[in-house]
Symmetry: C3
Subunit: 208 residues, 3 copies
Amino acid sequence: MLSKFFPRGTDFFELFEKQAGYAVDAAVYFKKLVSDGVIEQKEIEKISSIEHQGDEATHDIFNQLNKTFITPFDREDIHDLAKELDDIIDMINTIVSRLEVYKITRIDKNLIEFASVIEDSVRAVDCAVKGMRNMKNYKSISEACVEVNRLENVGDAMRDKVLAELFETEKDPIKVIKWKEIYQDAETVLDICEDVAHVVDSIIVKQA
Amino acid sequence: MLSKFFPRGTDFFELFEKQAGYAVDAAVYFKKLVSDGVIEQKEIEKISSIEHQGDEATHDIFNQLNKTFITPFDREDIHDLAKELDDIIDMINTIVSRLEVYKITRIDKNLIEFASVIEDSVRAVDCAVKGMRNMKNYKSISEACVEVNRLENVGDAMRDKVLAELFETEKDPIKVIKWKEIYQDAETVLDICEDVAHVVDSIIVKQA
Amino acid sequence: MLSKFFPRGTDFFELFEKQAGYAVDAAVYFKKLVSDGVIEQKEIEKISSIEHQGDEATHDIFNQLNKTFITPFDREDIHDLAKELDDIIDMINTIVSRLEVYKITRIDKNLIEFASVIEDSVRAVDCAVKGMRNMKNYKSISEACVEVNRLENVGDAMRDKVLAELFETEKDPIKVIKWKEIYQDAETVLDICEDVAHVVDSIIVKQA
C-alpha cells in the first residue's frame, strides 16, 4: 500500500480520483452531445462547466504538491499525472468549442465512433487511476493501461481512415479544414489518455 | 528575500529580467508592426533580432543552471521559466514570419486587437518576473499572474469570435488557411504567458 | 569516462545508441522512399516496422530507468533524451503515413531536399549520442550538436521558402492543405533533432 507514505491531510489519490471522475464526465457528456446528432447550447455549457471543475481540481493538486514535503510517489510523476488528466478534459472541451465556432450542426458517424472509443479509453484511465491507491491492484491497473494503449492504436487507424475518406470525398476545402482538425483533435484525446497510462505505468514500476 | 540563497556570480533573477525584457520588446514591436497596417522589412528584422537576443539570454540561463550547484529555487522551475519566456518571443517571431511567408500586407483589425492583448499580457509577465527578486512583492506578483490568466481567457474568447467570423465571411479557402493559423498562433502567445504565470505562481507558493 | 558510474547490468549508453541507430534507419529509408519518386507499400511498411522497434527500445530505457537507482547522468536527462530520440522516428513515420493517407504519389523536389537535410541531421545526432560514452569525445560531440543546430536553421529557411512558393503557385486549396502540413512536419523533425542536441549538450556541460 502506497497510502502509508501519505502525509496526513493531503490525499493525493483522492484528488486524482476526482480529476479522473471529471474526465469520465466529460467523455460521457461528449458522447451524448455528438450521439443525438443535434448540438444544444445546454450540452456545450455542461462540458464547459466540467472543464472548469477539472481546472480547479488540477490547481488543487498543484497547490498541495507545492506545499507538501513528503509525497506518495515522485513529485514529477504527480505533476505529470495531474497535468495529463487535465489535458484530457481540455481537449474534449476544445473539440466541443470547435463544433460551435465552425457552426457544425450535423455530426457525422465518424465523430460518434471516435466519441465511443474516447469514452472507453477515459474509463480505462479512470480504472487505472482508481487502482493506484492500493498496489495489490497491480494486475488490474496494468490491464487498464494496456487497454488504453490498444485504444490509441485503434484511434490512429480510425483517424487515418476517416482523413483518407475526407480528402477523397469532400470537395469543399472549407469543410476539409474543419473536419480534418476535429478528427485530429479526437485522436489527440486518445494520445493524451496514452500519456496518462504511461505515467501510471511508470509509477507502478517504481513501486514494484 | 530569495536573493540570499544566491551563489555568488550567478544572478538568475537578473537573467530572467533580461529575458522578460526581450519578451516585452518583442510584444511592443509586434504591436507597432501590425498597428500601422503596413509591414516593413525593417520591422520584421527588428523582431527577428530580438528573437536572437532572447535565444542568447536563454542559453545563458541553461549554461549557468548546468554549472551551478545551488540555485535560488528549484532547478526544474528555473528551466521551465527560461524555456517558457523564450517561447513567448519565439511565437511572436513565428507570427511575423508567417505574415511575410503568406505575403500578408493588409493587417486586419482582429490581429491589431490581439497584439494589444499580447502586449498587456507580456507586460504583466514582466511585472511578475521582476517581482520575484523580493518575496515582499508577493501580492503584486500574484496580482500580475491573475491578470495574465484573465487575459488568456479574453484571448480564448477573441479567437473563437474571430474564427467564427472568418469561417462565415471569408469564401477564399486559401485566406481561411492563412488567417486561421495566424489567429491561433496569436492566442498561443497568451497560452504561453499563462504557462509562465503558472511557473512563477508555483515558485511563489513553494517559498511562502 | 561516464561509464564508471554505471550500475552493472544496465548500459544506458548502449540503449541510446540502439535508439539513435533506429533513428538513422528511419531517416535513411525515408530519403530512399521519397527519392525514387514512387512510394511503394513495402517502403511504408519498412518505416512503420522501424518505428515499432524504436518504440520497444524507448520502453526498454524507461523500464530500466524506473528500476535503476544509480544512473550515469541525471534521470530527467535520460528520460528526455529517450523521449526525443523516439519523437524523431515517430515524426518521420507520421510524414510517411500522411503521404499514404493523402494519396500522394508524386513526391516533389522540396520534400526530397528536406529528406536529405533530415538524414544529415539525424546522422549528426547519432554521432553526438555515440560520443557520450566517453567524455574524451567532448569536442566531436560538441561539433555534432553545432551541426544539428545549423541544419535546423537551414530547415527553417527551407520551410519558409517552400511555403511561400506553395501559397503563390498552388491554386488548389486541398493540395495547399496537404503539402503545408507535410512541409511543416518535415521541419519539425529538424526541430526535434535540435531538442536532442540540447539535451546532449546539457549532459556534457554538467559533466565538464
